[in-house]
């Protein structure tokens, strides 16, 4: 492919992508049904609100009923363990977001076929900030958050 064509092609796809994101911001739920599609818009979002809209189509969540097990102070921001559990019935999705990261969405998990409302992982944190967890149960979003102090940031070199 010659370089000029490639450039216009890339420009076109980027612009098209932005329009598509704007147009479907409220209608992204159907894409979540296709488990194979990685939700790029949600992961590229710069704010928790935008990430949640990309993931669940809404950022309105009620607090409570979620337990976050994570250190209050993490010495190494590159490896911060976090375990999320909830007693909410019919939890079908859990998302972990770090407010202080450039792209807040860390991971989201869709649970089905008898999986418990439980998810654990290790994540990177650039600096001290709030960690917000969102769980979807019966179509409603529930949330909890905790501040984790980071001594040495885990993003960059």
């Amino acid at each position: 492919m010659n370089p000029i064509n490639r450039r216009t092609f890339l420009k076109g796809t980027v612009a098209g992508g932005v329009v598509a994101v704007a147009a479907t911001a409220g209608l992204l739920k159907p894409t979540r049904v296709l488990a194979a599609a990685w939700p790029a818009a949600a992961f590229d979002a710069k704010s928790i609100d935008d990430a949640l809209k990309g993931l669940y189509g809404s950022s309105a969540a009620t607090p409570g009923a979620i337990t976050i097990k994570a250190p209050l102070q993490a010495e190494n921001g590159a490896v911060v363990p976090i375990a999320v559990s909830t007693s909410l019935p019919k939890v079908d999705s859990i998302a972990i977001l770090v407010a202080g990261n450039a792209n807040p969405l860390v991971a989201s998990v869709n649970l089905m076929n008898g999986a418990e409302g439980y998810f654990s992982a290790r994540m990177k944190m650039g600096k001290t900030s709030n960690v917000q967890v969102v769980a979807r149960a019966g179509g409603k979003l529930h949330t909890a958050s905790q501040e984790i102090k980071v001594t040495v940031g885990g993003c960059g070199g």
Binding site: L105, V109, N113, F119
Partner: protein
Amino acid sequence: MNETKLKTRPKDGATEILVLVNHPMETGQRVDPKTKEKVPAHWIQNLSIELNGKTVADVDMGVAISKDPLIAVAVKSAKKGDKVKVSWSDNKGQKGGAETTVGA
């Protein structure tokens, strides 16, 4: 290269499924100390866990998941001898996975 480890253990009346993948999880922001150039992003995007052929958890990950991801979920209905399978794919199209049985 990308070794995938999978194990199960009892947890509060349920069965916890733990996955450990040997993967660099490069953010695309890190600068190589020798070449002074940015290391291209390379991370696992999707990891899915099956119990007896049925998907129980489908994890979408960003670059903020730590190097060598350790992921855990739990299922209540699992019995000893049930088959557990994990498979993952990253942004460069590499894939990996592992299988085990509950209680193994």
